[in-house]
């Protein structure tokens, strides 16, 4: 309640002198200098009081605002709260790849990378001595080149990416101020070479360069959730193990194998040999980087007879009991079509498949005709690269001039070259009721055929095909694949490779494609050896029945329990067999199957001695 505040006269207030410097000197009308000074002091007091109030209001307001609304860290924590905690880290950009059971196949691990900030090197001498010290720790680097880079380049010059923890510690211990470290990540493949052809690799900047890593690069970089594949690490190993043993045993130059679910197209295992360590792909020779299962196209030989038989049955060109002249070789143009093991009497279709008669298959193909054969193989996807999530897929080779000769040779699998995966897909179609499914490596894509999908073949035809495939394994060329309890069926293929424009009798592709259990087909298993040589165990033979069929048998017996297919006991298997073979007719069963069947004693596995279990003390 100071005096100036209660001054009553507004008119007098208007007369008040303006504060400070603004007041023009000529308007000084107050009487005494003391009064003037007092007036000035009052004005200044008001001015400063207002100033203080203003400043405090600002400070108070800001404080309140900061306290209540804008706490340090609040923004950041809200942002991280929104994001779901991911299995991989903020820094771990590239998603993991896992198998069907969640086993890690590829993962990005944190590493450290080092560079040298060359601004710290004031003289070239400093750069040279630093380079020498660095090479002392990382002997794989070149000191002269490094020093040169330090002098010539600007900014932070890269020393080495992806240091091991030991290298990082040693480099850090050098105490060179110019060296800067940054968090980095590196792709790791804990299964080694096992999945090399499927997963592919990434470059030093973690960009996919081949395989799934390339095809699904965007998915792996943008979504952090692990990518589940249809593969099973255990089955993949079984196939890889058996195939590499066979490649070694038969001195083959390579091999390929596939295990696929015939209902969903899910690829359980896919192997191509030779393969490579993904972390050392740079040193792998080109043939090791070549995927024989999807990129390589081969004349697959007799396995194609299955398609000829299926189409002929579907069209009604031939019946199961009709016989065909397979005694005389076919002379057409400059070509002669012969059989590997000529039979000296006419054969029915099941027998043609069972003994793998080229003449028989050619004669049936002739009856079908080029146009219809072409159309059927096209509908099976044989004219396009296999539809799979890999960049390495091979375009099939089809004859330019699909005349009579081509029709006949294609009838037994020569004159057309396709990737093994296409054969696998085709045989899946023959065994799953005629549905052309799409092979896939991704768990999300593997589903049963859509209900509106039209089967390519009738139920009757596929039942007959299953019977014939079973016949091949029970009494034909692939008896070595007959694993008791699993009702394996299939077809062998032995194709001569073309060398210098002629088929080479000693350079073969020996393969077997099997399906099990034939009573209700679940999986198709394919194995192929490239240029196998017969050995003592096979009496020098290197055909599909000798080298590939036993391999597939071993793969099935080891992996079926893992895939949830229990073996049938001998009684159940016999019942299922007679049902599968039924389309052959009792005549053929009696003449073809029965003589080969060993008298099968119904044997129970020996009972284990029962023991009394006690608690451990």
């Amino acid at each position: 309640m100071t005096e100036w505040q209660s001054r009553p006269d507004p008119a007098a207030m208007r007369q008040m002198p303006l504060p400070g410097l603004l007041r023009p000197p000529q308007r000084r009308v107050l009487a005494t200098p003391a009064e003037q000074a007092l007036e000035r002091a009052r004005t200044r007091l008001v001015f400063f009081a207002l100033l203080f109030v203003l400043v405090f209001v600002i400070i108070g307001g800001r404080l309140t605002f900061l306290t209540l609304f804008n706490q340090p860290g609040a923004v950041e924590s809200e942002a991280t709260d929104d994001a779901e905690p991911t299995p991989t880290l903020g820094g771990m950009g590239r998603a993991q790849i896992v198998d069907r059971n969640g086993v890690i196949l590829a993962a990005s691990l944190p590493t450290t990378s080092a560079c040298a900030n060359v601004r710290h090197f004031t003289t070239p001498n400093m750069a040279t001595s630093a380079a020498l010290a660095i090479v002392g720790v990382l002997p794989e680097l070149d000191a002269a080149k490094l020093a040169d880079n330090f002098v010539k380049r600007k900014g932070c010059v890269a020393i080495k990416r992806h240091l091991t923890p030991k290298q990082y510690a040693a480099l850090n211990a050098l105490g060179i101020g110019a060296i800067e470290f940054s968090a980095d990540e590196q792709r790791r493949y804990p299964q080694g070479a096992l999945f090399s052809h499927i997963l592919g690799t990434t470059d030093i900047d973690n960009i996919g360069t081949n395989g799934l890593e390339k095809k699904l690069d965007t998915r792996l970089r943008t979504a952090s959730a692990p990518l589940p594949l249809t593969l099973d690490v255990r089955v993949q190993h079984i196939l890889h193990h058996e195939l590499s043993n066979a490649v070694k045993d038969f001195s083959a130059i390579g091999g390929a194998g596939v295990v696929m679910d015939v209902q969903t197209g899910a690829i359980i295992a896919l192997v191509s040999l030779p393969d490579f360590e993904p972390e050392a792909i740079g040193t792998a020779p080109p043939e090791a980087r070549f995927n024989r299962a999807t990129l390589g196209v081969y004349e697959l030989g007799s396995t194609f007879k299955l398609f000829t038989a299926a189409q002929a049955l579907e069209l009604g060109t031939i019946t199961m009991t009709e016989t065909i002249n397979t005694v005389d070789p076919i002379h057409i143009g400059r070509h002669t079509i012969r059989d590997y093991h000529p039979e000296h009497h006419r054969l029915t279709l099941p027998e043609i498949i069972m003994v793998s008669s080229n003449i028989g298959a050619a004669r049936i193909a002739e009856k079908i005709g080029a146009t219809r054969q072409k159309q059927f193989l096209d509908s099976l996807g044989m004219f396009k690269p296999p539809p799979i999530e890999l960049p390495e897929v091979g375009r099939p080779l089809i004859p330019d001039n699909w005349g009579d000769v081509a029709t006949m040779t294609i009838g037994f699998g020569h004159g057309i070259a396709a990737a093994p995966l296409q054969l696998v897909r085709g045989v899946a179609t023959l065994s799953n009721g005629g549905y052309l499914i799409k092979p896939t490596l991704l768990q999300d894509e593997a589903k049963a055929p859509a209900p509106d999908l039209k089967p390519l073949l009738s139920k009757a035809t596929t039942a007959k095909m299953r019977a014939m495939m079973r016949l091949v394994v029970m009494a034909g060329t692939a008896k070595t694949a007959n694993i008791p309890g699993y009702l394996v069926g299939g077809k062998t293929g032995t194709a001569e490779k073309i060398a210098h424009k002629h088929y080479d009798k000693n350079a073969r592709l020996s393969s077997f494609i099997g399906v099990f259990p034939l009573s209700a087909p679940r999986y198709v298993v394919f194995a192929m050896l490239d240029e196998p040589r017969g050995n003592k165990k096979t009496y020098g033979f290197a055909t599909g029945g000798w080298v590939a069929a036993p391999l597939v048998g071993r793969v099935i017996s080891a992996s079926a329990p893992l895939l949830g297919v229990p073996p049938m006991d001998s009684i159940g298997a016999a019942a299922a067999d007679s049902q599968v073979l039924q389309p052959l007719g009792s005549n053929l069963i009696n003449t073809l199957v029965k003589p080969h069947e060993p008298p099968e004693p119904v044997e129970e596995p020996e009972e284990l001695p029962s023991a009394t279990v006690t608690e451990d003390h």
């Binding site: 924590s77 880290l89 771990m92 890690i104 993962a107 193990h241 596995p605 023991a611």
Partner: protein
């Protein structure tokens, strides 16, 4: 005048109390947030560790490696198809059911055997 003074004091006290509470709360919140940040950083580090360890585990249990080790150190063989028994016949291959009597009898027998061994040693 006095009433005004009293109310002034009251307001002042209230103001001080309110601001004290406010700042105390604010400080607490700050501390908690720092803790959250610390825990989150720890979480990130742990997750990174788990990630590395999982990958290492996958490498250590890789079937190729296990096969190599098993071939070297274990006398195991491939399971034969005949060794796989359907569930409904499993009971035939299982040990007899453990009864308390059987356990007691077994214990008594092992004690006797143990005593005999001791006697033999003592002699």
């Amino acid at each position: 005048m006095t009433t005004i003074r009293i109310s002034h004091w009251l307001w002042l006290a209230l103001l001080i109390a309110a601001s004290a509470t406010l700042y105390h709360t604010s400080y607490q919140v700050q501390q908690l947030e720092q803790r959250i940040a610390r825990v989150k950083a720890q979480q990130v580090a742990e997750r990174e560790n788990i990630h590395v360890l999982q990958t290492e585990w996958a490498a250590l249990t890789a079937p190729m490696r296990l096969q190599r080790l098993a071939d070297k150190y274990l006398p195991l063989e491939q399971v034969k198809v005949a060794q796989i028994v359907p569930e409904h016949r499993l009971s035939r291959f299982l040990p007899r059911r453990v009864t308390p009597d059987a356990v007691a009898a077994n214990n008594a027998a092992s004690q006797l055997a143990f005593a005999a061994l001791r006697g033999a040693d003592g002699r």
